[in-house]
Protein backbone atom coordinates (compact mmCIF):
# COMPACT_ATOMS: atom_id res chain seq x y z
CA UNK A 1 0.00 0.00 0.00
CA UNK A 2 1.07 3.53 -0.65
CA UNK A 3 0.05 6.56 1.42
CA UNK A 4 0.31 10.05 -0.04
CA UNK A 5 1.11 12.98 2.26
CA UNK A 6 0.82 16.70 1.60
CA UNK A 7 4.17 18.23 0.63
CA UNK A 8 2.58 21.72 0.48
CA UNK A 9 5.16 24.06 -1.05
CA UNK A 10 7.79 21.30 -0.91
CA UNK A 11 9.45 19.07 1.66
CA UNK A 12 12.52 21.28 1.72
CA UNK A 13 10.47 24.34 2.73
CA UNK A 14 8.89 25.09 6.13
CA UNK A 15 5.45 24.92 4.49
CA UNK A 16 4.29 21.34 4.29
CA UNK A 17 2.23 18.78 6.23
CA UNK A 18 4.35 15.67 5.62
CA UNK A 19 4.34 14.44 9.21
CA UNK A 20 5.29 10.85 8.38
CA UNK A 21 8.20 11.84 6.15
CA UNK A 22 9.50 14.73 8.24
CA UNK A 23 8.01 14.35 11.73
CA UNK A 24 9.14 12.74 14.97
CA UNK A 25 7.04 10.94 17.64
CA UNK A 26 5.10 13.08 20.12
CA UNK A 27 1.73 13.75 21.75
CA UNK A 28 -0.77 16.23 20.31
CA UNK A 29 -4.52 16.40 21.02
CA UNK A 30 -4.35 13.21 23.01
CA UNK A 31 -2.69 11.03 20.36
CA UNK A 32 0.82 9.64 20.29
CA UNK A 33 1.87 9.80 16.64
CA UNK A 34 4.34 11.44 14.28
CA UNK A 35 4.37 15.23 14.68
CA UNK A 36 5.98 18.27 13.10
CA UNK A 37 7.75 19.79 16.10
CA UNK A 38 10.92 21.50 17.24
CA UNK A 39 13.61 20.12 19.53
CA UNK A 40 11.74 21.33 22.64
CA UNK A 41 8.54 19.53 21.71
CA UNK A 42 6.71 22.67 20.56
CA UNK A 43 4.40 21.79 17.69
CA UNK A 44 5.11 23.55 14.39
CA UNK A 45 2.62 25.00 11.93
CA UNK A 46 1.73 22.78 9.01
CA UNK A 47 0.76 23.91 5.53
CA UNK A 48 -1.29 22.29 2.80
CA UNK A 49 -3.72 23.73 0.25
CA UNK A 50 -6.01 20.94 1.42
CA UNK A 51 -7.70 21.81 4.73
CA UNK A 52 -8.01 18.15 5.73
CA UNK A 53 -4.27 17.60 5.42
CA UNK A 54 -3.19 20.92 6.95
CA UNK A 55 -2.37 19.44 10.36
CA UNK A 56 0.98 18.92 12.13
CA UNK A 57 0.01 15.45 13.36
CA UNK A 58 -1.36 12.31 11.74
CA UNK A 59 -3.56 9.43 12.87
CA UNK A 60 -1.80 6.93 15.14
CA UNK A 61 -2.91 4.16 12.71
CA UNK A 62 -0.79 5.70 9.96
CA UNK A 63 2.13 6.03 12.37
CA UNK A 64 1.82 2.34 13.23
CA UNK A 65 1.53 1.31 9.54
CA UNK A 66 4.66 3.32 8.77
CA UNK A 67 6.62 1.70 11.62
CA UNK A 68 5.41 -1.76 10.55
CA UNK A 69 6.56 -1.07 7.01
CA UNK A 70 3.09 -2.08 5.80
CA UNK A 71 2.58 1.23 3.95
CA UNK A 72 5.11 3.25 2.01
CA UNK A 73 4.49 6.98 2.45
CA UNK A 74 5.26 9.45 -0.34
CA UNK A 75 4.32 13.10 -0.78
CA UNK A 76 2.76 15.41 -3.37
CA UNK A 77 2.89 19.22 -3.52
CA UNK A 78 -0.06 21.64 -3.63
CA UNK A 79 0.55 22.32 -7.34
CA UNK A 80 0.71 18.63 -8.26
CA UNK A 81 -2.53 17.97 -6.35
CA UNK A 82 -4.35 20.81 -8.15
CA UNK A 83 -3.19 19.53 -11.55
CA UNK A 84 -4.37 16.02 -10.69
CA UNK A 85 -7.78 17.32 -9.57
CA UNK A 86 -8.17 19.07 -12.91
CA UNK A 87 -7.14 15.89 -14.73
CA UNK A 88 -9.67 13.70 -12.90
CA UNK A 89 -12.42 16.25 -13.54
CA UNK A 90 -11.68 16.30 -17.26
CA UNK A 91 -11.10 12.58 -17.79
CA UNK A 92 -13.64 11.09 -15.39
CA UNK A 93 -16.15 13.86 -14.78
CA UNK A 94 -15.45 13.54 -11.08
CA UNK A 95 -14.33 16.50 -9.00
CA UNK A 96 -12.18 14.93 -6.29
CA UNK A 97 -11.55 16.42 -2.87
CA UNK A 98 -8.15 18.08 -2.60
CA UNK A 99 -7.07 15.39 -0.13
CA UNK A 100 -7.84 12.61 -2.64
CA UNK A 101 -6.28 14.63 -5.46
CA UNK A 102 -2.92 14.00 -3.77
CA UNK A 103 -3.42 10.27 -4.31
CA UNK A 104 -4.26 10.77 -8.01
CA UNK A 105 -1.21 12.97 -8.46
CA UNK A 106 1.02 10.11 -7.35
CA UNK A 107 -0.19 8.03 -10.34
CA UNK A 108 2.17 10.05 -12.54
CA UNK A 109 5.10 8.55 -10.64
CA UNK A 110 3.59 5.14 -9.94
CA UNK A 111 2.15 4.03 -13.28
CA UNK A 112 5.44 3.93 -15.25
CA UNK A 113 6.71 1.38 -12.70
CA UNK A 114 3.77 -1.00 -13.17
CA UNK A 115 3.06 -3.66 -15.80
CA UNK A 116 -0.13 -4.17 -17.80
CA UNK A 117 -1.16 -7.02 -15.50
CA UNK A 118 -1.02 -4.93 -12.33
CA UNK A 119 -4.25 -3.57 -10.90
CA UNK A 120 -3.98 -0.19 -9.19
CA UNK A 121 -6.78 1.02 -6.91
CA UNK A 122 -6.99 4.64 -5.82
CA UNK A 123 -9.00 5.52 -2.73
CA UNK A 124 -11.06 8.54 -3.77
CA UNK A 125 -11.94 9.41 -0.20
CA UNK A 126 -13.86 12.64 -0.66
CA UNK A 127 -15.67 14.87 -3.09
CA UNK A 128 -14.51 18.25 -4.30
CA UNK A 129 -17.69 20.30 -3.82
CA UNK A 130 -16.17 21.56 -0.57
CA UNK A 131 -13.03 22.68 -2.43
CA UNK A 132 -14.73 24.62 -5.24
CA UNK A 133 -13.58 27.97 -3.81
CA UNK A 134 -9.99 26.79 -3.90
CA UNK A 135 -10.30 25.29 -7.38
CA UNK A 136 -11.98 28.47 -8.69
CA UNK A 137 -9.24 30.69 -7.26
CA UNK A 138 -6.53 28.63 -8.96
CA UNK A 139 -7.63 29.68 -12.44
CA UNK A 140 -7.57 26.14 -13.84
CA UNK A 141 -10.10 27.06 -16.51
CA UNK A 142 -8.89 26.48 -20.03
CA UNK A 143 -6.05 24.24 -18.92
CA UNK A 144 -6.58 20.87 -20.49
CA UNK A 145 -5.02 17.51 -19.93
CA UNK A 146 -1.82 16.93 -21.93
Amino acid sequence: MIGVEAAGCGLNTQKHAATLSKGTPGVLHGSFSYLLQDKNGQVELAHSISAGLDYPGVGPEHSALKDLGRVKYVSITDTQALEAASMVAQLEGIIPALESAHAFAHLDKLMPTTSKKDIVVVNLSGRGDKDMMTYASQNLEGKSVK
Partner: protein, 265 residues
Protein backbone atom coordinates in the same frame (compact mmCIF):
# COMPACT_ATOMS: atom_id res chain seq x y z
CA UNK B 1 2.01 -1.68 39.77
CA UNK B 2 4.05 -1.08 42.90
CA UNK B 3 3.44 2.43 44.11
CA UNK B 4 5.68 4.05 46.65
CA UNK B 5 3.70 6.04 49.11
CA UNK B 6 3.51 9.74 48.43
CA UNK B 7 5.56 11.53 51.05
CA UNK B 8 4.32 14.85 52.34
CA UNK B 9 6.19 17.95 51.25
CA UNK B 10 5.88 21.75 51.35
CA UNK B 11 2.51 21.52 49.56
CA UNK B 12 0.77 19.13 51.95
CA UNK B 13 2.33 20.86 54.95
CA UNK B 14 0.95 24.21 53.75
CA UNK B 15 -2.54 22.82 53.06
CA UNK B 16 -2.63 21.13 56.48
CA UNK B 17 -1.59 24.38 58.18
CA UNK B 18 -4.30 26.30 56.34
CA UNK B 19 -6.95 23.76 57.34
CA UNK B 20 -5.87 23.91 60.98
CA UNK B 21 -6.12 27.71 60.89
CA UNK B 22 -9.49 27.43 59.11
CA UNK B 23 -8.09 29.40 56.17
CA UNK B 24 -8.66 28.92 52.45
CA UNK B 25 -5.81 28.43 49.99
CA UNK B 26 -5.02 31.06 47.38
CA UNK B 27 -3.23 29.47 44.42
CA UNK B 28 -1.91 31.81 41.74
CA UNK B 29 -1.05 30.61 38.25
CA UNK B 30 1.70 32.15 36.16
CA UNK B 31 2.90 31.24 32.69
CA UNK B 32 6.66 30.74 33.03
CA UNK B 33 8.68 33.16 30.88
CA UNK B 34 5.87 35.72 30.58
CA UNK B 35 5.76 38.68 30.01
CA UNK B 36 9.57 38.61 29.71
CA UNK B 37 11.75 35.53 29.82
CA UNK B 38 13.14 36.56 33.20
CA UNK B 39 9.94 37.97 34.76
CA UNK B 40 9.08 34.71 36.49
CA UNK B 41 11.41 34.76 39.51
CA UNK B 42 10.62 38.36 40.63
CA UNK B 43 6.88 37.81 39.97
CA UNK B 44 6.71 34.65 42.08
CA UNK B 45 8.57 36.37 44.92
CA UNK B 46 6.19 39.34 44.71
CA UNK B 47 3.10 37.09 44.77
CA UNK B 48 4.47 35.07 47.69
CA UNK B 49 5.18 38.29 49.58
CA UNK B 50 1.66 39.58 48.88
CA UNK B 51 -0.04 36.52 50.37
CA UNK B 52 -0.29 33.75 47.76
CA UNK B 53 -0.25 30.36 49.50
CA UNK B 54 0.79 28.24 46.53
CA UNK B 55 2.19 29.10 43.08
CA UNK B 56 1.30 27.10 39.98
CA UNK B 57 3.79 27.58 37.15
CA UNK B 58 2.61 26.80 33.63
CA UNK B 59 5.05 25.23 31.18
CA UNK B 60 4.26 27.02 27.90
CA UNK B 61 3.15 24.75 25.05
CA UNK B 62 2.27 25.55 21.45
CA UNK B 63 -1.11 23.78 21.74
CA UNK B 64 -2.44 24.31 25.28
CA UNK B 65 -5.82 22.62 24.91
CA UNK B 66 -7.18 23.33 28.38
CA UNK B 67 -6.37 27.03 28.19
CA UNK B 68 -8.41 30.00 27.04
CA UNK B 69 -7.22 33.01 25.02
CA UNK B 70 -5.34 34.81 27.83
CA UNK B 71 -3.13 31.89 28.84
CA UNK B 72 -2.76 30.81 25.20
CA UNK B 73 -1.43 34.25 24.28
CA UNK B 74 0.91 34.32 27.27
CA UNK B 75 2.23 30.86 26.30
CA UNK B 76 2.86 31.98 22.73
CA UNK B 77 4.73 35.04 23.99
CA UNK B 78 6.78 32.98 26.43
CA UNK B 79 7.78 30.55 23.65
CA UNK B 80 8.82 33.55 21.52
CA UNK B 81 10.81 34.80 24.51
CA UNK B 82 12.75 31.54 24.31
CA UNK B 83 11.37 29.67 27.32
CA UNK B 84 12.26 25.98 27.62
CA UNK B 85 11.65 23.37 30.29
CA UNK B 86 15.35 23.45 31.27
CA UNK B 87 15.12 27.22 31.71
CA UNK B 88 11.99 26.95 33.87
CA UNK B 89 13.64 24.43 36.20
CA UNK B 90 16.54 26.87 36.50
CA UNK B 91 14.06 29.59 37.49
CA UNK B 92 12.56 27.25 40.08
CA UNK B 93 16.01 26.69 41.62
CA UNK B 94 16.45 30.46 41.78
CA UNK B 95 13.03 30.91 43.44
CA UNK B 96 13.94 28.25 46.00
CA UNK B 97 16.92 30.31 47.17
CA UNK B 98 14.46 32.93 48.42
CA UNK B 99 11.19 31.29 49.44
CA UNK B 100 9.62 28.07 50.68
CA UNK B 101 6.26 28.71 49.03
CA UNK B 102 4.85 25.46 47.58
CA UNK B 103 5.40 25.30 43.81
CA UNK B 104 3.34 23.22 41.43
CA UNK B 105 4.14 22.67 37.74
CA UNK B 106 1.37 22.43 35.14
CA UNK B 107 2.35 21.09 31.75
CA UNK B 108 1.26 19.38 28.57
CA UNK B 109 2.85 16.06 27.72
CA UNK B 110 4.87 16.72 24.59
CA UNK B 111 7.57 19.03 26.02
CA UNK B 112 7.87 16.63 28.98
CA UNK B 113 8.30 13.59 26.71
CA UNK B 114 10.99 15.49 24.82
CA UNK B 115 12.78 16.45 28.00
CA UNK B 116 12.77 12.82 29.10
CA UNK B 117 9.93 11.38 31.14
CA UNK B 118 11.58 10.21 34.35
CA UNK B 119 14.30 12.86 34.07
CA UNK B 120 11.59 15.52 34.13
CA UNK B 121 10.08 14.32 37.40
CA UNK B 122 13.50 13.77 38.99
CA UNK B 123 14.77 17.21 37.93
CA UNK B 124 11.51 18.92 38.90
CA UNK B 125 11.84 17.55 42.42
CA UNK B 126 15.54 18.40 42.61
CA UNK B 127 14.89 21.99 41.55
CA UNK B 128 12.24 22.43 44.26
CA UNK B 129 8.86 21.53 42.74
CA UNK B 130 6.22 20.00 45.06
CA UNK B 131 3.44 18.85 42.75
CA UNK B 132 2.55 18.16 39.12
CA UNK B 133 -0.59 18.87 37.10
CA UNK B 134 -0.92 17.12 33.72
CA UNK B 135 -4.34 18.20 32.42
CA UNK B 136 -4.11 16.03 29.31
CA UNK B 137 -3.75 12.76 31.19
CA UNK B 138 -6.99 10.95 32.06
CA UNK B 139 -7.24 8.73 35.14
CA UNK B 140 -6.75 5.60 33.00
CA UNK B 141 -3.34 6.80 31.80
CA UNK B 142 -1.95 8.08 35.09
CA UNK B 143 -0.24 4.88 36.24
CA UNK B 144 2.76 5.40 34.02
CA UNK B 145 3.40 8.81 35.64
CA UNK B 146 2.47 7.85 39.20
CA UNK B 147 5.47 5.57 39.44
CA UNK B 148 7.73 8.57 38.74
CA UNK B 149 5.91 11.15 40.84
CA UNK B 150 5.74 8.83 43.84
CA UNK B 151 9.38 7.84 43.50
CA UNK B 152 10.35 11.52 43.45
CA UNK B 153 7.87 12.58 46.14
CA UNK B 154 5.79 14.88 43.99
CA UNK B 155 2.07 15.41 44.54
CA UNK B 156 -0.19 14.15 41.73
CA UNK B 157 -2.85 16.78 41.23
CA UNK B 158 -5.63 15.34 39.08
CA UNK B 159 -8.64 17.24 37.78
CA UNK B 160 -12.39 16.78 37.99
CA UNK B 161 -14.99 18.73 36.00
CA UNK B 162 -18.78 19.17 36.12
CA UNK B 163 -18.97 16.20 33.73
CA UNK B 164 -17.19 13.86 36.18
CA UNK B 165 -19.53 11.32 37.79
CA UNK B 166 -19.66 10.79 41.56
CA UNK B 167 -17.96 7.40 41.28
CA UNK B 168 -15.19 8.82 39.15
CA UNK B 169 -14.66 11.75 41.54
CA UNK B 170 -14.03 9.17 44.27
CA UNK B 171 -11.60 7.24 42.06
CA UNK B 172 -9.72 10.39 41.01
CA UNK B 173 -9.57 11.61 44.62
CA UNK B 174 -8.12 8.26 45.68
CA UNK B 175 -5.26 8.49 43.15
CA UNK B 176 -4.61 12.22 43.71
CA UNK B 177 -2.34 13.71 46.31
CA UNK B 178 -1.72 17.29 47.43
CA UNK B 179 -5.10 18.59 46.36
CA UNK B 180 -7.91 17.86 43.94
CA UNK B 181 -8.19 20.37 41.10
CA UNK B 182 -11.88 21.09 40.67
CA UNK B 183 -12.45 22.66 37.23
CA UNK B 184 -15.37 25.07 37.56
CA UNK B 185 -16.86 24.69 34.08
CA UNK B 186 -16.83 22.39 31.07
CA UNK B 187 -14.54 24.57 29.00
CA UNK B 188 -11.20 26.29 28.94
CA UNK B 189 -9.51 28.64 31.41
CA UNK B 190 -10.46 32.30 31.72
CA UNK B 191 -14.16 32.15 30.82
CA UNK B 192 -16.12 35.25 31.72
CA UNK B 193 -18.86 33.74 33.86
CA UNK B 194 -18.47 31.03 36.46
CA UNK B 195 -22.25 30.71 36.81
CA UNK B 196 -24.03 28.69 39.45
CA UNK B 197 -21.41 26.26 40.62
CA UNK B 198 -22.22 25.94 44.32
CA UNK B 199 -24.08 22.65 43.99
CA UNK B 200 -21.32 21.19 41.83
CA UNK B 201 -18.56 22.14 44.28
CA UNK B 202 -20.65 20.71 47.12
CA UNK B 203 -21.00 17.46 45.16
CA UNK B 204 -17.23 17.23 44.66
CA UNK B 205 -16.62 17.93 48.35
CA UNK B 206 -19.11 15.21 49.28
CA UNK B 207 -17.26 12.57 47.25
CA UNK B 208 -13.64 13.71 47.60
CA UNK B 209 -12.88 12.72 51.17
CA UNK B 210 -9.13 12.38 50.88
CA UNK B 211 -7.86 15.65 49.39
CA UNK B 212 -8.56 19.36 49.81
CA UNK B 213 -10.72 20.58 46.90
CA UNK B 214 -9.43 23.68 45.14
CA UNK B 215 -11.51 25.32 42.42
CA UNK B 216 -10.07 26.93 39.30
CA UNK B 217 -11.04 28.20 35.80
CA UNK B 218 -12.91 31.49 35.38
CA UNK B 219 -12.36 32.96 38.87
CA UNK B 220 -11.66 36.62 38.19
CA UNK B 221 -12.45 38.85 41.16
CA UNK B 222 -12.26 38.89 44.97
CA UNK B 223 -16.07 38.51 44.92
CA UNK B 224 -15.87 35.33 42.79
CA UNK B 225 -13.15 33.99 45.05
CA UNK B 226 -15.16 34.70 48.19
CA UNK B 227 -18.26 32.99 46.78
CA UNK B 228 -16.39 29.82 45.87
CA UNK B 229 -14.23 29.69 49.00
CA UNK B 230 -17.40 29.29 51.07
CA UNK B 231 -17.73 25.77 49.64
CA UNK B 232 -14.17 24.84 48.61
CA UNK B 233 -10.81 24.59 50.37
CA UNK B 234 -9.28 27.18 48.10
CA UNK B 235 -9.25 28.89 44.73
CA UNK B 236 -6.88 28.89 41.76
CA UNK B 237 -6.57 32.09 39.73
CA UNK B 238 -4.66 32.27 36.44
CA UNK B 239 -6.10 34.18 33.48
CA UNK B 240 -7.24 37.13 35.62
CA UNK B 241 -3.75 37.44 37.13
CA UNK B 242 -2.07 37.26 33.74
CA UNK B 243 -4.43 39.94 32.44
CA UNK B 244 -3.48 42.13 35.41
CA UNK B 245 0.21 41.57 34.74
CA UNK B 246 -0.27 42.40 31.05
CA UNK B 247 -2.33 45.53 31.75
CA UNK B 248 -0.81 47.17 34.80
CA UNK B 249 2.52 45.54 35.24
CA UNK B 250 3.58 47.35 38.40
CA UNK B 251 4.51 45.11 41.29
CA UNK B 252 2.65 47.26 43.86
CA UNK B 253 -0.64 47.13 42.00
CA UNK B 254 -0.48 43.36 41.55
CA UNK B 255 0.52 42.95 45.20
CA UNK B 256 -2.50 45.00 46.29
CA UNK B 257 -4.83 42.86 44.21
CA UNK B 258 -3.40 39.65 45.64
CA UNK B 259 -3.92 41.00 49.18
CA UNK B 260 -7.56 41.76 48.28
CA UNK B 261 -8.02 38.21 47.00
CA UNK B 262 -6.49 36.67 50.11
CA UNK B 263 -8.59 38.87 52.39
CA UNK B 264 -11.75 37.97 50.45
CA UNK B 265 -11.37 34.25 51.10
Amino acid sequence: MKREKYESNRLTTKLTQLRERNEKALVLFLTAGYPKLDSTVPLVLELAQAGADIIELGIPFSDPLADGPVIQASSQQAIKNGITLEYILGQVKEIRKHTNIPLVLMGYLNPILHYGEEKFFADARKSGIDGIILPEVPLEETDRFLSFTRKHHLADILLVSPATTDKRIREIDEVSSGFLYCVSTTGVTGRSNIGDIESYVKRVKRHAKKNPVLVGFGIKTPTDAQRIAQHADGVIIGSALIQKITQVGTATEIGDWVRQLKNAI
